[in-house]
Symmetry: C2
Subunit: 174 residues, 2 copies
DNA sequence: GCCCCTATGTATAAGTC
DNA sequence: TGACTTATACATAGGGG
């Protein structure tokens, strides 16, 4: 993930995967160590790679064993309380990505709608089958940009309107 | 660690520590998840924070338990084989930092010595109690920069030498 | 494979609301 | 407390030796 973005999927290429594994394993251990040091919490990690026969543990044998023993001794309910399942984690991840996407889409939509608004202002007929929520959003955008719209209307009334077909990018003034 | 460099030590401020803990916990889990996905390895993590009564586990209860059981079943020797003790890890960290420091120092020393070399060239008397290894290093630097030195000598011989007291930064030409 | 480098993506400390 | 932003440090992919 860095000359290119991370593709969140299994790395097919054996050589690349191994390189990545080594780098990331190192990074993970470093992060664990930092968490432990900066926040004074116990962290135990076990990794079963394809590249080694034994598990790779951190920070050391005893800590890991103790952590697991403590873990085993807890009643199941307590144990689950702060558990993060892989599924949950993935869901959260997806949710976050979707939110970001929504955000970007929304921003883009505002831009589109601002242009749309301008088109309408320039005389374009709004088709009646337009999505109601879209119209509502459009109204919000108009409201938000009321000042600019009014100025444009005055200019237009005075015959100073843009003569080009391309609408002026009101967007830039948002 | 980012508006400022990470200070590799316990964060005294409770509020800051907690914020950091939450962010870093999240980051750690994300990294674990990525390692698992990209490289298809089993990763089990248990964290005992001060902020929760139960351990925080990832990716889930069963995986963690199985990982620990497997771990426990291994003969002690095997178990230790790929273990990274905290001490080792810290040592590695220190070693790396020291190497970096050495490198920076060496670079700096080369610069200093190049200037020293120039001073000598300009007529400075080298004191006899100069460290032998330092002299040797100096010799290396001179050798490395022989071409530049020769050019300077020619210029000097032609009366084109710098007249300022500050030696020209030969360093820049390295 | 390992180490180094560099460009770029990510993580995150502070700050703001 | 937490969500969001920003600036900066850190992690790491790709490429060379």
């Amino acid at each position: 993930m860095t000359r290119n973005k991370v593709n969140y999927a299994f790395i097919e290429d054996d050589s690349k995967r191994k390189i990545s594994y080594n780098k990331r394993l190192n990074g993970l251990l470093k992060k664990s160590d930092e968490l432990k040091t900066l926040c004074d919490v116990e962290v135990a990690t076990v990794i079963y790679g394809t590249y080694r026969n034994e598990p790779y543990t951190f920070p050391n044998n005893d800590v890991v064993r103790n952590a697991f023993i403590k873990f085993k001794e807890l009643p199941t309910l307590d144990r689950s309380k702060n558990m993060v399942t892989r599924e949950e984690f993935t869901m959260q991840r997806i949710k976050k990505l979707e939110e970001q996407l929504q955000k970007v889409r929304k921003e883009n939509r505002v831009k589109e709608m601002t242009n749309e608004m301008y088109e309408v202002f320039k005389g374009k007929t709004v088709s009646v089958d337009m999505n109601p929520s879209y119209l509502n959003d459009l109204r919000c955008v108009i409201k938000k940009n009321l000042k600019q719209v009014r100025e444009l209307m005055i200019k237009e009334a005075n015959g100073e309107g843009s003569t080009s077909n391309a609408p002026q990018p009101i967007v830039e003034q948002l």
